[in-house]
């Protein structure tokens, strides 16, 4: 490493992934060399998402993410070096996405373009134009993105389920924001968000693929090293959702073809010791044709699809079951069938073979992820947003320890009627 570039401290190495810290500003850096193909994947994850928003500025994080494509003094449209164009020119797979707990910017590039990825992400961390003129046109783009979402009954139902399940915690509002907030948000508010949260000490940079470690560290130090840490501590989000005291239930009626049912239960945060068991629980319920929901609900033609998802977030999230009904299908029948599947998990032990299948699937999925540099970056980025990256490495071993008793215990502890939210989407045409 050059003597005059800021130093990186090696924190730990764990299963081929090395963690560094930039001494000058606290940026966390994760590196994994995978030289199988001449490609690198680079991502910067900021620990800011819609979880950090409050009334009046919902959607700020997501709108700001759009603004970070609008350029900097170095990369901009005027000089023909607009961020998207520069990346597109190299054939990059690139994008950014915002969710409850995080905002991520990433690019997959041929490995000879490593410096471009690092330079660009370091540059937009602090130098982005957040101009009012850009905000106005980008607001219309985001509003169109929102309207596209509103066309989809499944997405609206899901949004309403989260809003009903969370009363106080900001998981209550969708990441894209409430329409009037997005329309009315002043540029100054976005700038304030940028200046509060976009700092190296609130981010993790992740690099996976075909690179030489010394060169990568030099480039990271060169481009990120001179960025100062945040002038003030990153403000914590301290709102806690109180325990739900009784079922929430609602009906959404609008034009559509097929009825939908979504059921949700609060589950603990990702770093909770029950997360591996909930992951296995999810797998048993919803992975494949042989899963319990498929067999009980799709095979019997009660619904045409039935899925489950465990949203394991930085704060307690939700476990959801979503079902799409056939034309003329009964919402009540589908709900009852799904709840019967859950009840069985409370009263009967899962067989050893079923448990073994779920664990094998989870381990295989983690190995498949490793087929591509982006698969690894994506997984590490998601875990960094909600817990510590080492959880990604530890998950197979943690899952291995899950027992039938664990599954029965979590079914009884979390999947209760009082902890439940149920939403029906009823197409208007179905009404008599």
């Amino acid at each position: 490493m050059n003597v005059n570039t800021p130093a990186l401290t090696r924190i730990t190495e764990y299963h081929g992934i090395t963690e560094y810290m930039l001494e000058s500003n606290g940026l966390k850096v994760l590196l994994e060399r995978r030289p199988a193909a001449p490609v690198i994947a680079f991502m910067v994850v900021y620990r800011v998402g819609s979880r950090n928003e409050a009334v009046g500025h919902t959607g700020a994080t997501h709108l700001l993410e759009h603004m970070l494509f609008k350029g900097t003094p170095t990369f901009n449209k005027r000089t023909g070096t607009q961020i998207a164009s520069v990346l597109q020119r190299q054939g990059a797979v690139y994008n950014a996405d915002t969710w409850y707990d995080r905002t991520r910017y990433y690019e997959v590039l041929p490995s000879d373009q490593l410096e471009l990825a690092i330079h660009l992400e370091a540059d937009r961390m602090r130098n982005s134009f957040i101009a009012d003129e850009d905000r106005q046109s980008e607001m219309v783009v985001v509003r169109n993105e929102m309207e596209r979402g509103e066309n989809d009954p499944g997405r609206i139902l899901d949004e309403r389920v989260w809003a009903a399940a969370f009363r106080e915690h900001p998981y209550h509002h969708p990441t894209i924001g409430w329409r009037s907030d997005v329309e009315g948000m002043p540029t100054s508010r976005l700038k304030e968000f940028y200046d509060t949260f976009y700092h190296p000490n609130n981010a993790t940079a992740i690099l996976v693929g075909d690179f030489e470690e010394d060169e990568a560290l030099d480039l990271i130090a060169k481009h990120f090293g001179r960025i100062p840490p945040s002038p003030a501590p990153i403000p914590p989000m301290y709102t806690v959702e109180p325990p739900q005291q009784g079922e929430h239930r609602f009906i959404l009626r609008r034009a559509g073809q097929l009825g939908l049912v979504e059921i949700a239960w609060h589950i603990p945060e990702a770093s909770h010791p029950d997360t591996p068991a909930i992951t296995v629980f999810d797998q048993i319920l919803s992975a494949g044709i042989s899963s319990r929901l498929y067999q009980a609900i799709v095979e019997t033609q009660i619904a045409v699809s039935a899925g489950a998802q465990s949203f394991q977030f930085r704060d307690p999230g939700l476990f959801t079951i979503e079902m799409m009904l056939p034309p003329g299908g009964s919402h009540e029948t589908a709900e009852r069938a799904a709840l019967d599947v859950i009840e069985k998990m409370k009263t009967e032990d899962v067989s050893e073979s079923e448990l073994k299948k779920a664990k094998s699937q989870i381990v295989a999925q983690l190995i498949f992820l490793r087929d591509s540099p982006f698969g690894v970056v994506n997984a590490l980025g998601e875990i960094e947003a909600v817990a510590d990256w080492k959880f990604y490495v530890d998950l197979p071993a943690l899952v291995e320890h899950v027992t039938p008793e664990d599954l029965r215990r979590i079914a009884n502890e979390y999947f209760t009627a009082d902890n439940r939210t149920v939403g029906y989407f009823i197409p208007k045409e179905e009404e008599g």
Partner: protein, 424 residues
């Protein structure tokens, strides 16, 4: 991995029954991918039997003469492996993925599903039920409805790119029987038109021998002939509206018959032209103006949809608030006209060349990506060497060739415009 050519690293085996197998060893991760196809796509559907090829392909995973659907699913899912069959316009593609230690199970199951499908009546009833629901669901999507209408306006009903409306498609699907599936299977499924590409942590000789044992004695149907006339460009523009309820966002599709197939000598220049015009919302001409400058859309893209063995439509599709439709359509047409008049800029051409080559390399970073590219090269008779030659071929494309392609393939004043959404 990137030192030796793909051609040198890929072993090719041609079995006496016509099956071609290509194997590329990649030991970077303990996984393996299969990508294969045979000629049994929707082009081969008998008249008024839309959905037959698709139902037949889907039914391959619904049980064999030896095992039920659930028994097969249990076996694959227990090791996290998966197999799927998908019917396309001309081919049925097969995708498989497993950890390398379970690769034997994967190819044995694939062979069993291909050679011994049972087509159980009750499974067809369930599949029909889900297929109809999926069609109903797609009916809710503004973009699907706009594309469907566009294809009806530019293709004749017997063309495989003509999409039936939901009610007609459902009526045909409801009447398809297991006997018809069996007949279609017997007429179209066989080793003669089949290609299998296997990439990953496998041993070439072992795979060659095992595939020989599993499908070497399968004959089945003949190779099938594809003879689809090129659809002429329409002479005058058309406009249609698909009214839908409760849609905050509208989708607009502007398109025409493309007349572009993979075998056209100017295929690469034409695709470069399209990339510069509208492939990326964030960096192509259409997106830079209509999204980035004017903020009128979340997404605008142009594409030669299915320019492969046949000539699918050329389409520009844009998502837009209903009040902005006219402005977006007018601006879009103006941009295409300007592109035709000016041609591609030298810097745009260079950018699209590096972009496509970079993207091509990135696509080859996974087993599934390599398998897909090899299969595609084989399907179009380009051979595995195409993966090695592609960057040079692309770099050799000139501005004059692209400009000629722009003039030949883009016709905004003769294009059909379809709008789907809530417009009152």
């Amino acid at each position: 991995m990137h030192i030796t050519s793909f051609e040198a690293r890929t072993a090719r085996f041609c079995y006496p029954n016509g099956l071609t197998l290509l194997v590329l060893e990649n030991h970077a991760n303990p996984t393996a991918s299969i990508y294969g196809f045979l000629k049994a796509g929707s082009y081969f559907n008998p008249p008024n039997r839309r959905g037959l090829s698709s139902l037949t392909a889907s039914m391959l995973t619904k049980g064999t003469t030896r095992r039920s659907k659930l028994e097969i699913a249990e076996a694959l899912e227990s090791v996290g492996a998966r197999i799927s069959f998908n019917s396309n316009t001309f081919t049925v593609s097969m995708l498989g993925q497993s950890l390398s230690r379970d690769f034997g199970l994967l190819i044995e199951t694939l062979a069993e599903e291909l050679r011994e499908p049972a087509f159980p009546d009750e499974e067809l009833a369930k599949l029909r039920h889900r297929t109809i629901a999926a069609i109903r669901q797609e009916e809710e999507e503004t973009r699907s409805r706009a594309v469907e209408r566009l294809t009806q306006l530019i293709y004749t009903p017997d063309n495989p790119y003509y999409q039936l409306c939901a009610d007609d498609l459902i009526a045909q699907i409801e009447s398809i029987s297991v006997e018809e599936l069996g007949d279609f299977y017997a007429a179209r499924y066989g080793a003669a038109s089949m290609l299998l590409v296997i990439v990953g942590d496998v041993d070439t000789d072992e795979v060659h021998n095992r595939i020989g044992e599993l499908v070497g004695d399968w004959t089945g149907a003949d190779a099938g002939v594809i003879n689809l006339p090129i659809t002429p460009l329409q002479t005058a523009p058309m406009r249609a509206v698909v009214p839908m309820k409760d849609k905050a966002n509208a989708d607009v599709v502007i398109g025409h018959a493309s007349q572009l197939r993979r075998s056209n000598p100017d295929y690469l220049p034409a695709q470069i032209a399209n990339r510069a015009l509208g492939q990326s919302t964030l960096s192509s001409r259409l997106g830079l103006k209509i999204r980035d400058d004017m903020g009128l859309t979340y997404g605008i893209n142009s594409t030669f949809s299915e320019s492969g063995l046949g000539d699918g439509p050329f389409m520009i599709s844009v998502t837009v608030a209903p009040e902005n439709i006219d402005l977006v359509v007018k601006t879009t047409v103006d941009i295409v006209e300007e592109f035709i008049e000016e041609g591609i800029r030298e810097d745009e051409l260079r950018d699209e060349q590096t972009s496509w080559i970079g993207g091509f390399k990135i696509g080859l970073a996974t087993n599934a990506g390599i398998a897909g590219q090899i299969a595609s090269a084989e399907m179009h008779a380009l051979g595995v060497k195409h993966l090695d030659a592609f960057p040079t071929l692309l770099n050799n494309v000139t501005k004059a060739e692209v400009d000629a392609a722009i003039r030949h393939y883009f016709h905004p004043r003769r294009a059909t415009t379809v709008i789907a959404g809530t417009l009152d």
